[in-house]
Symmetry: C2
Subunit: 459 residues, 2 copies
C-alpha cells in the first residue's frame, strides 16, 4: 500500500519525505480513511531507515490530523478532514543542486535548437495536409521508416517500419505495453533487481504482479527467471540500470531461449544504447529473435526528455493489441514526428550523438579521475557505457550519511539501495550528463572537495 | 463483448465491417477461443442491421476457420489457429471519399504552417535549457498561463494556470481522468444519449460503467441523471454532439446543482466551442462552479488533430490524483507546448480561429442551401455552431440506404443511429470542415447531384 514511497527523494530528509508522501496519498485518495498503516518497525525495514524516523513522521501526521493512533488498533488514516490544510498539490519544482550528479537527463544546454528548427522548417514545408489529421496510430510513416533505418545501423535492431509504434515517452510505451500484455493474459512480469524504481512501479500500476530476478557480474541471472511465474521480463541488456553491466553473450542467447520456451517475451529497454565508449557497441538482443523481443528506445537521452518521444519495435503478434490500446491513450504530435523523421534522415541525429558521445566520454574520464584522487577507496563501476556509474559502499548506513551530507553541500546523487527490491546493497549512483558543459568542471570541483572530506571522516 | 463493433465504419458494407471486426478481435486476443457469440437475431438488433447480414458474416468466418457453429452450441470462437491467415494487422489507411462530409477533422489544408513555424522559432530561441528536461507533469508553465488567459476570454472559463493539465489529445485526457475518477471510488459515469461513440467506449475501457441519459430539445435531460448511480457526467453543453443543441440556461444551473448534491462532477467536453455563428457565444458551464466542473478543450478543431494536444481545467481536489496518473502515462512534447504558448500569447490563435470561423460559416450556409435545393424534405439541424449538422430521417431503413448509396458515389457521412445507445433514431451527420477550401464546392456539387436522386427515389 505504500508503494509510492519508493520514489521519494531522500535528499531533503527521510522523515519529511515520508510525511509528505503519506499526506499526498491521503489527499489524493490513494490512502482512504480507516486504512491501517504498516507498523513503524515494518515500514522502517521496508524503507531501509531508522525506526525513529518513521515514529517521528507518524507522530507529526497524527498531530496534523491525517492519522489516528490508538493502542491496539495501530496507526490508521483519519476519517475526518485534516485540521491543517495540506498544500493542496505538491507540484513544487524538483530539487536543484549546485552540482547535480543525479542521472536521468542529458545535458539540456546541448539540445541542438538550430538544427531542430531547421528540421521543423523542412518538415512543415514538405508535409502533406493530412499530417495535421488524426493519422496512423503507430506514428507517421516517415518517422517509422527513418527509425527503422537508424535502429538497424546504430543498434542492430531488426526493424520493419510496420512493426514500429511511436509513443509519448518510454513511460507511455511501457504503460500501453503492460496493458496490452495484461489483455493477452499475462499476470506476472519479471524485472531486474536492482532496477530503475519506475520499472516495477509502472508494471504494478498497470495491474501486473512483479517478480524480481537478481543481477550478477554477467548481468541478469536468466536461469532464475525459471523459478518465477513470469512470461515476460523487462531488462536493460546493453547497460544494466543502475549497475552498468552488459549482459554476457551466453546470457543473451539464454534469455531469448527462455522466452521461446515459456511462450513469453523479453522487453528490452535500450535507454542509453547510443552511448558506449570503450568497447564495440553491444547490439540489441532483439536481433536474436524479433518475434520474442520487444525493443524499446527513446530520444530522452540522445536528444532530450522534454521531446517526450519513444518507440517500440514489436513482434507481429503484439502489434495489433498494442496499437489497439495506444489508440485509446494518446497521440504524439505529428509535427514533432515529422521533425524527428527529418532530423534522423538528414543525418543530424547521428552527428549529434557522435558529438555528445565524445563530450560525455570526456566527462566520464574526468569524473573517474576526480573520484580516484579525492576518494581512492571508492570504485566507479559500470562506466564503459551510458551516462552514469555506481560506487558500491560496503559499510551499512554509509549511503545515507554520504547522500545527506552531499545534499547539504548542494550536491545531488541517487542512492543505490533505492534500486533494490529490499534495499540490500548500499552505494552511490552518479550521473555525469546533467550539468551544462561550462558548469561541469565547477560541479566536479565541488564534488572533489566534498569527497576529500568524506575520505578523511571514513578513514 | 462486441463493444468494439460500435466504431465500425459501415461505408464499406455492414457485412464486411462485421467480419473484419470479429477477425481483428480474435487475432488481437480480445475474443478468446470458446467464447460464444451473440445470436444472429440479437446481434442484428444491436447493430441495427438485417439479420441476413449477420448470418452471412458468421458463415464467412466459419468458412475461414475463425468461428465454429454447431447445432445447439451456438456460434463460438474457434480453438484452432485460423486456416486462412488474416492480414496480421489491419492498419489500412482510413477510407477516403471524393466528397468527404464526415465530421471530426477541420480543414487540414488551412493549418497555419508559416505562423506555426514562426512560433516554433521564437519558442526555441527563448526557451530555458530545462524546457528539454522532464518538466512539470501538468505541462509547461508558459502554456498553462497562455491557456488560462485564452480560455478566460474566448470561453469564459475560470482558469487558474495551476489548475490546467496538458495532455496528448482529448482521448488521452479522458483516459487519465477516467482512471483518476476510478481511483477516487467512482464506479459509474453518465454520458449523453446520443453521444460521440468514443465517449462511452473510453469510459468502459477505463473500467467504469456507463449510464446513458437522454437528450431533448433543451439538451441533456439533467433530471434523468438522478435515476442513475452516476456521480459524474460527460457532456457537451456548448454544442451537443451530434445533435448540436446548446444546453438551456435552466439546465446549466440544474446540472451544476446536481453535481453539488451528488458530490460529483460535470465533465464538460468543449470540443468545438470556438465556432459559433448565429448567437452570442455560449460560455463554459465550468464558470458556474469550477470546483464541480472539469473543463476539457483541445486544439484538434481550432488547429489540427495531428498536434495531439488538449487540456483539462480541473477542480482543486482532482488536480493531484490526475497529475499522479498523468505522470505514469505520457508526456507531451515540450517544444510543441512552447510553440503553442507563443502561438496563443502572440494572438495568432485568435486570428486563425476568427478566419476559420468566417470560412466555416460560409461553408455551412452553402451546404444548408444545397440541402434546401436538392432535398427540401431534409431538415439540417444543430447548425448555429460547430462544424457539422444532422438530418433526422423518420423512415426506418432510410439511413443505411442513403449512406450505402452515398458511399458508392464516394460521398462520406456518418450514421446518426451509431451515436445512440440503442440506435433508435436514424439520420445523417454531415460535417462541412474536412474538404480543403478549393475542393469544397466540388464536394458540394457531388452531394447536390446525389441528393437530387435520393429525393426522386423517396418521393
Amino acid at each position: 500500500v505504500l508503494d509510492f514511497l519508493v520514489d521519494l527523494d531522500p535528499a531533503g530528509g527521510r522523515q519529511a519525505a515520508l510525511e509528505e508522501g503519506v499526506r499526498r496519498a491521503i489527499v489524493a485518495g490513494r490512502l482512504t480513511a480507516g486504512t491501517r498503516l504498516p507498523s513503524t518497525r515494518a515500514l522502517a525495514k521496508e524503507l531501509h531507515c531508522a525506526r525513529a524516523t518513521v515514529v517521528a513522521a507518524y507522530e507529526q501526521l497524527v498531530a496534523e490530523g491525517f492519522l489516528t493512533a490508538e493502542r491496539g488498533a495501530g496507526t490508521r488514516v483519519a476519517a475526518v478532514q485534516p485540521l491543517v490544510t495540506p498544500p493542496a498539490t505538491d507540484l513544487r519544482p524538483p530539487s536543484t543542486f549546485a552540482a547535480d550528479f543525479r542521472p536521468g537527463e542529458p545535458d539540456n544546454s546541448s539540445f541542438p535548437r538550430a538544427q531542430w528548427l531547421a528540421s521543423t522548417r523542412r518538415a512543415l514545408a514538405r508535409a502533406p495536409d493530412d499530417l495535421f489529421g488524426y493519422g496512423d496510430p503507430r506514428g507517421t510513416h516517415e518517422l517509422r521508416v527513418a527509425l527503422a533505418s537508424y535502429l538497424g545501423r546504430a543498434r542492430a535492431v531488426a526493424a520493419d517500419p510496420s512493426r514500429i509504434v511511436v509513443f509519448g515517452g518510454f513511460a507511455h510505451a511501457l504503460s500501453v505495453l503492460a496493458d496490452a500484455l495484461r489483455h493477452l493474459g499475462l499476470g506476472e512480469v519479471a524485472v531486474e533487481d536492482p532496477a530503475l524504481p519506475f520499472h516495477p512501479s509502472f508494471l504494478r500500476r498497470a495491474g501486473l504482479s512483479v517478480a524480481t530476478v537478481p543481477v550478477d557480474d554477467q548481468g541478469l541471472r536468466v536461469v532464475d527467471l525459471r523459478s518465477t511465474a513470469a512470461r515476460a521480463v523487462l531488462t536493460t541488456p546493453a547497460h544494466q540500470y543502475p549497475l552498468g553491466i552488459a549482459l554476457a553473450p551466453a546470457r543473451r542467447t539464454a534469455l531469448v531461449e527462455w522466452a521461446r520456451q515459456s511462450d513469453g517475451w523479453v522487453i528490452e529497454d535500450d535507454y542509453d544504447g547510443e552511448f558506449r565508449y570503450d568497447r564495440q557497441p553491444v547490439g540489441a538482443v532483439q536481433s536474436l529473435d524479433p518475434e520474442r523481443v520487444i525493443y524499446g528506445g527513446t530520444a530522452s537521452k540522445s536528444l532530450g526528455a522534454g521531446l517526450h518521444i519513444a518507440w517500440l519495435v514489436v513482434p507481429d503478434v503484439l502489434l495489433e493489441p498494442l496499437v489497439e490500446t495506444a489508440r485509446w491513450r494518446v497521440g504524439v504530435s505529428a509535427v514533432e514526428q515529422a521533425t524527428l523523421a527529418d532530423f534522423i534522415a538528414s543525418g543530424r541525429l547521428d552527428r549529434h550523438v557522435r558529438q555528445m558521445r565524445l563530450a560525455y566520454r570526456r566527462r566520464r574520464d574526468t569524473l573517474a579521475a576526480t573520484l580516484q584522487r579525492a576518494a581512492p577507496w571508492m570504485t566507479f563501476c559500470g562506466i564503459s557505457a551510458g551516462l552514469h556509474g555506481t560506487v558500491p559502499l560496503v559499510e551499512t548506513g554509509r549511503e545515507r550519511e554520504i547522500l545527506t551530507n552531499a545534499a547539504r553541500r548542494s550536491i545531488g546523487m541517487h542512492p543505490l539501495s533505492a534500486h533494490y527490491s529490499d534495499g540490500r546493497a548500499e552505494g552511490l549512483v552518479l550521473g555525469y550528463s546533467r550539468p551544462s558543459g561550462h558548469a561541469f568542471s565547477g560541479a566536479l570541483g565541488r564534488l572533489d572537495r566534498f569527497l576529500s572530506d568524506v575520505s578523511v571522516q571514513s578513514s
